[in-house]
Symmetry: C2
Subunit: 193 residues, 2 copies
DNA sequence: CCGAAAAGCTAACTTGATTAGCTTTGGCTG
DNA sequence: CAGCCAAAGCTAATCAAGTTAGCTTTTCGG
Protein backbone atom coordinates (compact mmCIF):
# COMPACT_ATOMS: atom_id res chain seq x y z
CA UNK A 1 0.00 0.00 0.00
CA UNK A 2 1.35 3.46 -0.84
CA UNK A 3 1.96 5.86 1.95
CA UNK A 4 -0.57 8.42 3.01
CA UNK A 5 2.00 11.19 3.02
CA UNK A 6 0.86 12.75 6.27
CA UNK A 7 2.54 15.66 7.94
CA UNK A 8 1.84 17.23 11.31
CA UNK A 9 0.32 20.21 9.52
CA UNK A 10 -1.98 18.03 7.44
CA UNK A 11 -3.17 16.14 10.49
CA UNK A 12 -3.83 19.33 12.42
CA UNK A 13 -5.68 20.89 9.51
CA UNK A 14 -7.92 17.86 9.14
CA UNK A 15 -8.48 17.86 12.89
CA UNK A 16 -9.52 21.51 12.71
CA UNK A 17 -12.07 20.61 10.04
CA UNK A 18 -13.40 17.77 12.15
CA UNK A 19 -13.64 20.11 15.10
CA UNK A 20 -15.46 22.74 13.07
CA UNK A 21 -17.92 20.18 11.78
CA UNK A 22 -18.57 18.10 14.88
CA UNK A 23 -17.61 20.41 17.71
CA UNK A 24 -14.23 20.71 19.37
CA UNK A 25 -15.31 18.53 22.28
CA UNK A 26 -16.07 15.71 19.84
CA UNK A 27 -12.73 15.90 18.15
CA UNK A 28 -11.24 12.43 18.30
CA UNK A 29 -8.22 10.67 16.92
CA UNK A 30 -10.56 8.05 15.55
CA UNK A 31 -12.48 10.57 13.46
CA UNK A 32 -9.34 12.22 12.12
CA UNK A 33 -7.74 8.89 11.27
CA UNK A 34 -10.83 7.78 9.40
CA UNK A 35 -10.91 10.98 7.37
CA UNK A 36 -7.27 10.53 6.46
CA UNK A 37 -7.69 6.83 5.67
CA UNK A 38 -5.12 5.87 8.20
CA UNK A 39 -5.02 3.71 11.32
CA UNK A 40 -5.34 5.57 14.59
CA UNK A 41 -1.86 4.83 15.94
CA UNK A 42 -0.32 6.23 12.78
CA UNK A 43 -1.30 9.69 13.91
CA UNK A 44 1.13 9.39 16.79
CA UNK A 45 3.99 9.78 14.34
CA UNK A 46 2.81 13.32 13.71
CA UNK A 47 1.01 14.59 16.77
CA UNK A 48 1.37 13.95 20.46
CA UNK A 49 -1.83 12.10 21.23
CA UNK A 50 -5.24 13.66 21.59
CA UNK A 51 -4.06 16.34 23.98
CA UNK A 52 -1.26 17.29 21.64
CA UNK A 53 -3.66 17.43 18.74
CA UNK A 54 -6.03 19.68 20.64
CA UNK A 55 -3.19 21.96 21.57
CA UNK A 56 -1.93 22.09 17.97
CA UNK A 57 -5.39 22.92 16.67
CA UNK A 58 -5.67 25.69 19.24
CA UNK A 59 -2.28 27.16 18.39
CA UNK A 60 -3.05 27.11 14.68
CA UNK A 61 -6.46 28.64 15.30
CA UNK A 62 -4.93 31.44 17.36
CA UNK A 63 -2.67 32.29 14.45
CA UNK A 64 -5.54 32.25 12.00
CA UNK A 65 -7.70 34.43 14.20
CA UNK A 66 -4.88 36.90 14.79
CA UNK A 67 -4.30 37.07 11.07
CA UNK A 68 -7.98 37.69 10.33
CA UNK A 69 -8.19 40.38 13.01
CA UNK A 70 -5.05 42.06 11.78
CA UNK A 71 -6.35 42.14 8.24
CA UNK A 72 -9.64 43.64 9.42
CA UNK A 73 -7.94 46.34 11.45
CA UNK A 74 -5.51 47.26 8.73
CA UNK A 75 -6.03 50.76 7.41
CA UNK A 76 -8.69 51.63 9.95
CA UNK A 77 -8.68 53.46 13.23
CA UNK A 78 -10.98 54.71 15.94
CA UNK A 79 -14.58 53.47 15.99
CA UNK A 80 -14.27 52.01 12.51
CA UNK A 81 -11.40 49.83 13.59
CA UNK A 82 -13.35 48.60 16.60
CA UNK A 83 -16.34 47.74 14.43
CA UNK A 84 -14.19 45.97 11.86
CA UNK A 85 -12.48 44.01 14.60
CA UNK A 86 -15.79 43.01 16.08
CA UNK A 87 -17.16 41.86 12.74
CA UNK A 88 -14.03 39.88 11.92
CA UNK A 89 -14.05 38.27 15.34
CA UNK A 90 -17.63 37.17 15.00
CA UNK A 91 -17.12 36.01 11.42
CA UNK A 92 -14.22 33.81 12.46
CA UNK A 93 -16.21 32.17 15.21
CA UNK A 94 -19.13 31.51 12.91
CA UNK A 95 -17.00 30.14 10.12
CA UNK A 96 -14.84 28.03 12.42
CA UNK A 97 -16.74 27.17 15.57
CA UNK A 98 -14.48 24.28 16.45
CA UNK A 99 -11.31 26.31 16.13
CA UNK A 100 -12.94 29.08 18.09
CA UNK A 101 -13.84 26.67 20.85
CA UNK A 102 -10.27 25.42 20.80
CA UNK A 103 -9.14 28.90 21.77
CA UNK A 104 -11.18 28.84 24.96
CA UNK A 105 -8.61 26.87 26.88
CA UNK A 106 -5.59 28.01 28.79
CA UNK A 107 -2.24 26.61 27.70
CA UNK A 108 -0.54 24.20 30.05
CA UNK A 109 1.63 25.99 32.60
CA UNK A 110 5.10 26.35 31.16
CA UNK A 111 3.97 26.01 27.56
CA UNK A 112 5.45 29.30 26.42
CA UNK A 113 4.94 28.66 22.73
CA UNK A 114 1.21 28.11 23.15
CA UNK A 115 0.95 31.08 25.47
CA UNK A 116 2.56 33.30 22.87
CA UNK A 117 0.27 31.99 20.14
CA UNK A 118 -2.79 32.59 22.27
CA UNK A 119 -1.65 36.11 22.95
CA UNK A 120 -1.40 37.08 19.28
CA UNK A 121 -5.08 37.96 18.85
CA UNK A 122 -5.02 40.03 22.02
CA UNK A 123 -2.16 42.02 20.59
CA UNK A 124 -4.33 43.14 17.71
CA UNK A 125 -6.88 44.45 20.18
CA UNK A 126 -4.12 46.26 22.01
CA UNK A 127 -2.85 47.88 18.85
CA UNK A 128 -6.30 49.13 17.90
CA UNK A 129 -6.99 50.55 21.33
CA UNK A 130 -3.60 52.19 21.44
CA UNK A 131 -4.45 53.90 18.17
CA UNK A 132 -7.79 54.92 19.65
CA UNK A 133 -6.01 56.80 22.35
CA UNK A 134 -6.93 54.72 25.36
CA UNK A 135 -4.60 55.55 28.20
CA UNK A 136 -1.98 52.95 28.99
CA UNK A 137 -3.24 52.22 32.47
CA UNK A 138 -6.86 51.87 31.41
CA UNK A 139 -6.05 49.72 28.43
CA UNK A 140 -6.02 46.40 30.24
CA UNK A 141 -9.51 46.98 31.56
CA UNK A 142 -10.87 48.16 28.25
CA UNK A 143 -9.35 45.27 26.35
CA UNK A 144 -10.81 42.84 28.81
CA UNK A 145 -14.20 44.44 28.48
CA UNK A 146 -14.09 44.35 24.70
CA UNK A 147 -12.85 40.79 24.57
CA UNK A 148 -15.40 39.71 27.11
CA UNK A 149 -18.31 41.22 25.26
CA UNK A 150 -17.28 39.85 21.89
CA UNK A 151 -16.42 36.44 23.24
CA UNK A 152 -19.63 36.22 25.19
CA UNK A 153 -21.73 37.15 22.22
CA UNK A 154 -20.19 34.77 19.73
CA UNK A 155 -20.00 32.01 22.30
CA UNK A 156 -23.67 32.30 23.09
CA UNK A 157 -24.48 32.63 19.42
CA UNK A 158 -22.51 29.61 18.24
CA UNK A 159 -23.92 27.48 21.04
CA UNK A 160 -27.46 28.45 20.17
CA UNK A 161 -27.81 30.31 23.45
CA UNK A 162 -30.02 32.99 21.94
CA UNK A 163 -33.59 31.89 21.51
CA UNK A 164 -34.08 32.07 17.78
CA UNK A 165 -36.24 34.40 15.77
CA UNK A 166 -35.05 37.87 16.70
CA UNK A 167 -32.45 39.50 14.51
CA UNK A 168 -29.09 38.53 15.91
CA UNK A 169 -27.19 40.91 13.64
CA UNK A 170 -29.07 43.85 15.08
CA UNK A 171 -28.31 42.70 18.61
CA UNK A 172 -24.66 42.46 17.73
CA UNK A 173 -24.81 45.99 16.41
CA UNK A 174 -26.20 47.21 19.73
CA UNK A 175 -23.42 45.47 21.59
CA UNK A 176 -20.71 46.84 19.33
CA UNK A 177 -21.98 50.41 19.59
CA UNK A 178 -21.95 49.98 23.34
CA UNK A 179 -18.34 48.91 23.11
CA UNK A 180 -17.45 51.84 20.90
CA UNK A 181 -18.97 54.16 23.50
CA UNK A 182 -17.12 52.41 26.29
CA UNK A 183 -13.81 52.68 24.45
CA UNK A 184 -14.40 56.28 23.47
CA UNK A 185 -15.28 57.13 27.05
CA UNK A 186 -11.91 55.78 28.17
CA UNK A 187 -9.92 57.33 25.38
CA UNK A 188 -7.33 59.99 26.10
CA UNK A 189 -8.81 63.16 27.52
CA UNK A 190 -11.79 61.50 29.17
CA UNK A 191 -12.25 61.35 32.88
CA UNK A 192 -12.71 57.84 34.23
CA UNK A 193 -16.32 56.74 34.78
CA UNK B 1 -23.75 -4.61 52.66
CA UNK B 2 -26.19 -1.84 53.57
CA UNK B 3 -27.63 0.28 50.80
CA UNK B 4 -26.12 3.52 49.80
CA UNK B 5 -29.46 5.27 49.85
CA UNK B 6 -28.97 7.15 46.63
CA UNK B 7 -31.57 9.33 45.02
CA UNK B 8 -31.47 11.12 41.68
CA UNK B 9 -31.03 14.39 43.52
CA UNK B 10 -28.11 13.08 45.55
CA UNK B 11 -26.38 11.75 42.45
CA UNK B 12 -26.86 15.01 40.59
CA UNK B 13 -25.62 17.03 43.53
CA UNK B 14 -22.48 14.94 43.82
CA UNK B 15 -21.99 15.21 40.07
CA UNK B 16 -22.25 18.97 40.33
CA UNK B 17 -19.52 18.93 42.97
CA UNK B 18 -17.32 16.75 40.80
CA UNK B 19 -17.93 19.10 37.89
CA UNK B 20 -17.07 22.14 39.99
CA UNK B 21 -13.88 20.54 41.21
CA UNK B 22 -12.61 18.88 38.05
CA UNK B 23 -14.33 20.78 35.27
CA UNK B 24 -17.62 19.96 33.63
CA UNK B 25 -15.90 18.33 30.68
CA UNK B 26 -14.21 15.88 33.05
CA UNK B 27 -17.40 14.91 34.76
CA UNK B 28 -17.62 11.13 34.52
CA UNK B 29 -19.86 8.44 35.89
CA UNK B 30 -16.76 6.73 37.19
CA UNK B 31 -15.78 9.72 39.31
CA UNK B 32 -19.27 10.18 40.71
CA UNK B 33 -19.64 6.49 41.50
CA UNK B 34 -16.33 6.45 43.32
CA UNK B 35 -17.31 9.46 45.42
CA UNK B 36 -20.58 7.81 46.35
CA UNK B 37 -18.93 4.45 47.08
CA UNK B 38 -21.06 2.71 44.52
CA UNK B 39 -20.46 0.71 41.36
CA UNK B 40 -20.81 2.63 38.13
CA UNK B 41 -23.87 0.77 36.77
CA UNK B 42 -25.75 1.52 39.97
CA UNK B 43 -26.00 5.12 38.89
CA UNK B 44 -28.23 4.09 36.02
CA UNK B 45 -31.02 3.45 38.49
CA UNK B 46 -31.10 7.15 39.21
CA UNK B 47 -29.89 9.02 36.14
CA UNK B 48 -30.05 8.35 32.44
CA UNK B 49 -26.42 7.73 31.63
CA UNK B 50 -23.73 10.35 31.29
CA UNK B 51 -25.78 12.51 28.96
CA UNK B 52 -28.71 12.41 31.33
CA UNK B 53 -26.47 13.28 34.23
CA UNK B 54 -25.01 16.24 32.37
CA UNK B 55 -28.46 17.45 31.50
CA UNK B 56 -29.65 17.07 35.08
CA UNK B 57 -26.67 19.00 36.41
CA UNK B 58 -27.35 21.74 33.90
CA UNK B 59 -31.04 21.96 34.79
CA UNK B 60 -30.26 22.10 38.50
CA UNK B 61 -27.58 24.71 37.90
CA UNK B 62 -29.96 26.87 35.93
CA UNK B 63 -32.36 26.84 38.83
CA UNK B 64 -29.63 27.71 41.30
CA UNK B 65 -28.36 30.55 39.14
CA UNK B 66 -31.84 31.94 38.61
CA UNK B 67 -32.41 31.80 42.32
CA UNK B 68 -29.16 33.61 43.08
CA UNK B 69 -29.87 36.27 40.47
CA UNK B 70 -33.39 36.75 41.73
CA UNK B 71 -32.16 37.20 45.27
CA UNK B 72 -29.58 39.75 44.15
CA UNK B 73 -32.11 41.77 42.18
CA UNK B 74 -34.68 41.77 44.92
CA UNK B 75 -35.38 45.19 46.32
CA UNK B 76 -33.18 46.97 43.81
CA UNK B 77 -33.81 48.78 40.58
CA UNK B 78 -32.06 50.78 37.90
CA UNK B 79 -28.26 50.82 37.85
CA UNK B 80 -28.05 49.26 41.29
CA UNK B 81 -30.04 46.27 40.13
CA UNK B 82 -27.79 45.83 37.10
CA UNK B 83 -24.68 45.98 39.27
CA UNK B 84 -26.10 43.53 41.77
CA UNK B 85 -27.08 41.18 39.00
CA UNK B 86 -23.62 41.37 37.49
CA UNK B 87 -21.94 40.68 40.81
CA UNK B 88 -24.20 37.74 41.56
CA UNK B 89 -23.67 36.31 38.10
CA UNK B 90 -19.92 36.47 38.44
CA UNK B 91 -19.99 35.13 41.97
CA UNK B 92 -22.00 32.12 40.87
CA UNK B 93 -19.58 31.30 38.08
CA UNK B 94 -16.59 31.61 40.38
CA UNK B 95 -18.12 29.55 43.13
CA UNK B 96 -19.46 26.89 40.78
CA UNK B 97 -17.40 26.79 37.60
CA UNK B 98 -18.57 23.33 36.64
CA UNK B 99 -22.23 24.16 37.02
CA UNK B 100 -21.64 27.37 35.14
CA UNK B 101 -20.02 25.47 32.30
CA UNK B 102 -22.95 23.07 32.32
CA UNK B 103 -25.20 25.99 31.45
CA UNK B 104 -23.28 26.70 28.26
CA UNK B 105 -25.04 24.02 26.28
CA UNK B 106 -28.30 24.13 24.43
CA UNK B 107 -30.96 21.65 25.48
CA UNK B 108 -31.77 18.87 23.07
CA UNK B 109 -34.43 19.87 20.58
CA UNK B 110 -37.81 19.01 22.02
CA UNK B 111 -36.60 19.00 25.61
CA UNK B 112 -39.10 21.55 26.82
CA UNK B 113 -38.36 21.03 30.51
CA UNK B 114 -34.69 21.80 30.06
CA UNK B 115 -35.45 24.73 27.80
CA UNK B 116 -37.69 26.22 30.45
CA UNK B 117 -35.08 25.69 33.15
CA UNK B 118 -32.42 27.34 31.02
CA UNK B 119 -34.66 30.27 30.45
CA UNK B 120 -35.20 31.02 34.12
CA UNK B 121 -32.03 33.09 34.57
CA UNK B 122 -32.81 35.08 31.45
CA UNK B 123 -36.17 35.98 32.91
CA UNK B 124 -34.48 37.68 35.82
CA UNK B 125 -32.53 39.85 33.40
CA UNK B 126 -35.74 40.66 31.60
CA UNK B 127 -37.47 41.69 34.79
CA UNK B 128 -34.63 44.00 35.80
CA UNK B 129 -34.47 45.66 32.40
CA UNK B 130 -38.22 46.06 32.33
CA UNK B 131 -37.97 47.87 35.62
CA UNK B 132 -35.17 49.99 34.21
CA UNK B 133 -37.51 51.26 31.53
CA UNK B 134 -35.93 49.69 28.49
CA UNK B 135 -38.43 49.76 25.64
CA UNK B 136 -40.04 46.46 24.78
CA UNK B 137 -38.61 46.30 21.27
CA UNK B 138 -35.07 47.13 22.36
CA UNK B 139 -35.12 44.76 25.29
CA UNK B 140 -34.04 41.68 23.38
CA UNK B 141 -30.94 43.40 22.10
CA UNK B 142 -30.06 44.88 25.45
CA UNK B 143 -30.52 41.59 27.26
CA UNK B 144 -28.33 39.87 24.73
CA UNK B 145 -25.66 42.51 25.13
CA UNK B 146 -25.73 42.28 28.91
CA UNK B 147 -25.73 38.51 28.93
CA UNK B 148 -22.94 38.41 26.38
CA UNK B 149 -20.72 40.76 28.28
CA UNK B 150 -21.21 39.05 31.60
CA UNK B 151 -20.90 35.58 30.17
CA UNK B 152 -17.79 36.51 28.21
CA UNK B 153 -16.11 38.00 31.23
CA UNK B 154 -16.76 35.19 33.64
CA UNK B 155 -16.04 32.58 31.01
CA UNK B 156 -12.67 34.11 30.23
CA UNK B 157 -12.00 34.59 33.91
CA UNK B 158 -12.83 31.06 35.00
CA UNK B 159 -10.81 29.61 32.14
CA UNK B 160 -7.80 31.68 33.07
CA UNK B 161 -8.11 33.65 29.85
CA UNK B 162 -6.91 36.87 31.41
CA UNK B 163 -3.17 37.07 31.76
CA UNK B 164 -2.58 37.26 35.48
CA UNK B 165 -1.45 40.13 37.65
CA UNK B 166 -3.76 43.01 36.82
CA UNK B 167 -6.75 43.58 39.04
CA UNK B 168 -9.61 41.59 37.58
CA UNK B 169 -12.17 43.13 39.92
CA UNK B 170 -11.39 46.57 38.56
CA UNK B 171 -11.73 45.33 35.00
CA UNK B 172 -15.09 43.85 35.87
CA UNK B 173 -16.13 47.19 37.26
CA UNK B 174 -15.24 48.91 34.00
CA UNK B 175 -17.29 46.39 32.07
CA UNK B 176 -20.29 46.71 34.37
CA UNK B 177 -20.29 50.50 34.19
CA UNK B 178 -20.20 50.19 30.43
CA UNK B 179 -23.23 47.96 30.63
CA UNK B 180 -25.04 50.36 32.91
CA UNK B 181 -24.38 53.12 30.38
CA UNK B 182 -25.58 50.94 27.55
CA UNK B 183 -28.77 50.04 29.37
CA UNK B 184 -29.41 53.59 30.46
CA UNK B 185 -28.88 54.79 26.89
CA UNK B 186 -31.60 52.45 25.73
CA UNK B 187 -33.99 53.17 28.55
CA UNK B 188 -37.31 54.87 27.93
CA UNK B 189 -36.98 58.39 26.60
CA UNK B 190 -33.57 57.87 25.03
CA UNK B 191 -32.99 58.02 21.32
CA UNK B 192 -31.37 54.89 19.91
CA UNK B 193 -27.82 54.74 18.73
C1' DC C 1 22.06 -1.02 -4.96
C1' DC C 2 21.75 -0.87 0.09
C1' DG C 3 20.95 0.50 4.62
C1' DA C 4 18.60 3.04 7.92
C1' DA C 5 15.20 6.39 9.39
C1' DA C 6 10.63 7.27 9.20
C1' DA C 7 5.79 5.96 8.11
C1' DG C 8 2.34 3.15 8.85
C1' DC C 9 0.45 -1.14 10.68
C1' DT C 10 -1.30 -4.89 13.94
C1' DA C 11 -1.82 -6.45 18.55
C1' DA C 12 -2.59 -5.68 23.21
C1' DC C 13 -3.91 -2.99 27.25
C1' DT C 14 -6.56 0.64 29.79
C1' DT C 15 -10.34 3.44 31.00
C1' DG C 16 -14.98 4.72 30.67
C1' DA C 17 -19.91 4.01 29.16
C1' DT C 18 -23.47 0.97 28.61
C1' DT C 19 -26.56 -3.24 28.83
C1' DA C 20 -28.16 -7.59 30.72
C1' DG C 21 -29.42 -10.04 34.15
C1' DC C 22 -28.71 -11.63 39.06
C1' DT C 23 -29.06 -10.91 44.17
C1' DT C 24 -30.58 -8.70 48.07
C1' DT C 25 -32.70 -5.28 50.68
C1' DG C 26 -36.54 -3.35 52.97
C1' DG C 27 -41.04 -1.48 53.06
C1' DC C 28 -45.81 -2.85 52.88
C1' DT C 29 -49.50 -6.02 53.03
C1' DG C 30 -52.14 -9.88 54.56
C1' DC D 1 -45.11 -11.24 62.23
C1' DA D 2 -44.23 -13.53 57.73
C1' DG D 3 -43.64 -13.11 53.25
C1' DC D 4 -43.77 -10.77 48.83
C1' DC D 5 -41.98 -7.94 45.40
C1' DA D 6 -40.24 -3.64 43.51
C1' DA D 7 -36.33 -1.23 43.59
C1' DA D 8 -31.32 -0.85 44.65
C1' DG D 9 -27.17 -2.33 43.82
C1' DC D 10 -23.96 -5.71 41.96
C1' DT D 11 -21.10 -8.63 38.63
C1' DA D 12 -20.09 -9.80 34.03
C1' DA D 13 -19.69 -8.70 29.41
C1' DT D 14 -19.49 -5.58 25.34
C1' DC D 15 -18.06 -1.49 22.89
C1' DA D 16 -15.49 2.55 21.79
C1' DA D 17 -11.54 5.43 22.23
C1' DG D 18 -6.74 6.37 23.58
C1' DT D 19 -2.26 4.74 24.18
C1' DT D 20 2.04 1.82 23.90
C1' DA D 21 5.00 -1.69 21.93
C1' DG D 22 7.02 -3.51 18.48
C1' DC D 23 6.93 -5.13 13.51
C1' DT D 24 7.06 -4.26 8.40
C1' DT D 25 7.84 -1.57 4.54
C1' DT D 26 8.60 2.38 2.06
C1' DT D 27 11.69 5.73 0.55
C1' DC D 28 15.58 8.38 0.16
C1' DG D 29 20.50 9.42 0.61
C1' DG D 30 24.89 7.68 -0.23
Amino acid sequence: MPRAGLTPAAVVEEAARVGDAAGFDRLSLAAVAKRLNVAVPSLYKHVDGLDGLRRAVAVAAAGQLAEALGRAAMGRSGPDAVRALADAYRAFARAHPGRYAALQTSPAPGDAEAAAAFYAPVEVFQAVLRGFGVAEDARVDVIRAVRSALHGFVDLETRGGFGLADDVDRSFGVLVEGLVDLVAGRAAGSAPG
